[in-house]
């Protein structure tokens, strides 16, 4: 009995299975007859083969589908509910998805849309409602976080009765192009700024016509022409080259060597201002079109500076020769009048005195030396006595280079003499040094050295070199007059000279400054 029962159960199960298969087979036949299927799968030795049941529409649709599949732009179609019903290979690749995973989903499951401006989304909807089409740009953010700049074209799909049944979106990834455009824009801004703000003139010329096609703002400053006046002119017409022949020659050279350089050309602005300019012209290719760029640098200031340096070198040379001549004369006179045994010491002291004046001039950039400064420097050996036994008194007065040298040497000789034989040789001796500039017209400069309480003075029986220094040399330096007295109280020295020969103009270098070197 159990065997029979189980056999019956197995039969019932097999019967049920057969019925189920029959139902499926019937359903299949019904679907095929009703035209509800598009493809049949036939088993073969090579595996399942797909046979599309194609009518004319099916073939047309297949052809369209093939075309869309082949295009490099991303194509996605959605139905009225927004479900994805088609995605081509380019779109799948772009968004990093596969068709089988996203068919039936929403586009928002594939990417998120970002709009450049808040109103863009609403504007796209309005355009689709009004025109059945919209074209524009937005950003699609893929599910793996990539931001894609997309140039989109969306069209409403219509049935043959004109009813909307979906949308077709065609998108082109323009991310690389946008990035390139952004780089080009940044580059344009950067180099445009260089061009606009350069303190060199820049001209761009057409090699074929030799005419200016662009000029930077500094060029208009250099020439006093407006940009519009410069454009269309040739170089010789703006005074950069002397004539048409020179212009022709420059262009010939440029064609041969691609670069021409002029180290120094005269350039006259429209208002007559003269400038020295350095010109470098380059012939280069601008996206397949040859252009010439001329860089024009105003070297007027540099030329002046160079000329000034040359003048200074000549002046330094001249002064060095003068100084050497003075040293030579001092050495000669020192040897002639003094004790041969003390020659080296005396010469050394006098050269030191000269050097002290020179140092002050250099320190003051050759703009003169204050009298007080000179006195202090020349009496540096007696600096402890200044303020006690040596008094210095006088107004602010700036000495010229010549006066510094002459008066400085005289002060050195006077102090040396006072230390050996005069007021500074005695314990109680004093020296008053004063100077003044009178208010008379013309102004007079006076300076005096007066000794007190020293040993009794005796007028020298013969004239030594020291006397020449405090007398004739000092007079010659300032074209003045020196008076020396040998009073019982001590030696007196008084210099008078026209102030104009003695005093320097404050703030003005004693070196000549060129005003025009051409």
């Amino acid at each position: 009995m159990p065997d029979r029962s189980s056999a019956n159960a197995a039969l019932a199960e097999a019967n049920k299975e057969l019925r189920a298969r029959l139902v499926i087979a019937e359903e299949m036949l019904r679907a095929i007859r009703a035209g509800d299927v598009d493809a049949l799968v036939i088993q073969s030795d090579a595996g399942p083969q797909i046979y599309l049941l194609q009518g004319q529409d099916a073939e047309a649709n297949r052809f369209r589908g093939e075309m869309l599949a082949q295009v490099s732009d991303a194509v996605i179609a959605v139905d009225l509910d927004g479900h994805v019903i088609y995605i081509n290979a380019a779109a799948a690749l772009l968004y990093g998805v596969t068709a089988d995973k996203v068919l039936g989903l929403y586009t928002s499951d594939i990417y998120t849309t970002l709009w450049a401006k808040p109103d863009d989304h609403a504007a796209s909807i309005t355009a689709l409602e009004r025109d059945n089409a919209w074209r524009g740009e937005n950003v699609h953010v893929t599910h793996d976080g990539r931001h894609l700049d997309i140039e989109s074209s969306i069209t409403i799909l219509l049935t043959k009765h004109g009813e909307a049944n979906g949308r077709l979106g065609v998108g082109r990834d323009v991310t690389a192009r946008k990035q390139h455009e952004e780089k080009v824009l940044i580059s344009e801004i950067r180099y445009r700024r260089l061009f606009e703000t350069a303190h060199d003139g820049v001209l761009i010329l057409n090699p074929a016509t030799r005419k200016i096609i662009d000029a930077n703002p500094y060029m208009t400053v250099m020439l006093d022409y407006t940009h519009a006046q410069l454009v269309g002119k040739e170089l010789f017409e703006i005074g950069l080259l002397k004539d048409r022949a020179a212009s022709q020659e420059m262009f010939n050279s440029l064609t041969l060597s691609k670069q021409v350089r002029y180290d120094n050309l005269p350039l006259i602005s429209q208002s007559g201002r003269h400038q020295d300019v350095e010109v470098v012209a380059n012939l280069y290719d601008e996206n397949g079109v040859p252009v010439i760029q001329c860089n024009i640098r105003d070297i007027t200031a540099r030329k002046h500076a160079e000329a000034h340096v040359q003048l200074l070198i000549a002046e330094v040379n001249h002064r060095a020769k003068n100084l050497l001549a003075v040293v030579q004369a001092v050495a000669h006179q020192t040897a002639k009048y003094g004790d041969p045994a003390g020659f080296v010491a005396r010469l050394s002291d006098r050269i030191d005195a000269l050097a002290a004046g020179q140092d002050l001039l250099v320190k003051n950039l050759w703009q003169g030396v204050q009298v007080a400064e000179l006195v202090t420097a020349q009496l540096s050996h007696f600096k402890d006595l200044i303020g006690t036994r040596i008094s210095i008194e006088g107004p602010s007065a700036l000495l010229t280079t010549g006066a510094t040298q002459g008066i400085g040497m005289a002060l050195h000789e006077l102090s040396t003499n006072a230390a050996k034989y005069g007021a500074l040789a005695a314990p109680e001796g004093r020296v008053d040094i004063t100077w003044d500039v009178s208010n008379a017209n013309p102004q007079e400069f006076t300076m005096s050295w007066t000794e007190f309480d020293g040993p009794a003075t005796v007028a020298p029986t013969r004239s030594g070199f020291g006397q020449i220094v405090i007398g004739r040399m000092a007079e010659a330096a300032v074209e003045g007059n020196v008076e020396v007295t040998f009073a019982p109280a001590g030696l007196g020295w008084r210099l008078r000279a026209p102030a104009v020969n003695v005093l320097a103009q404050p703030g003005r270098s004693q070196f000549p400054v060129p005003t025009d070197v051409r």
Binding site: A31, V41, A58, L105
Partner: protein, 123 residues
């Protein structure tokens, strides 16, 4: 009296069973052959049915046998489009563009047959 009581309880039990099924996670597999119109309609229709009845409690896998014919072998697919309900069991199979959404919803046990008037208890 008994019959009446039975008839009042039975629809309620059926409704509960249907409700339980809609709360179950569904796994569906739709076999299509490229982007033919019926296949596209089938995708659209099954999405609409699932969205309406299941919300997010379903998983729909779309398999393009035009791209990979070998995938048609495992489920013995002989036409496209074909929808197979993998879960919950038993396996169900629907052929065509699924445009008769009411019939498909009933076939998937997501809705009751139309024409059926739910029995109201009480008043």
């Amino acid at each position: 009296m008994t019959r009446k009581n039975f008839s009042t309880r039975a629809p309620a039990a059926m409704e509960l069973a249907a409700l339980a099924r809609t709360l179950t996670h569904h796994v569906l597999r739709l076999y299509v052959a490229g982007t033919t119109p019926r296949c596209i309609r089938a995708i659209s229709n099954i999405r609409a049915i699932c969205d309406e009845h299941l919300g997010d409690r379903y998983e729909l896998e779309i398999i393009d046998i035009a791209q990979q014919p070998s995938l048609a072998q495992s489920e013995q697919i002989i036409a496209a489009p074909t929808l197979i309900r993998i879960l919950p069991l038993p396996l169900r199979r629907f052929i065509g563009d699924l445009s008769d959404t009411d019939r498909i919803a009933v076939g998937l046990d997501l809705a009751r047959p139309s024409g059926h008037i739910p029995h109201r208890t009480g008043s």
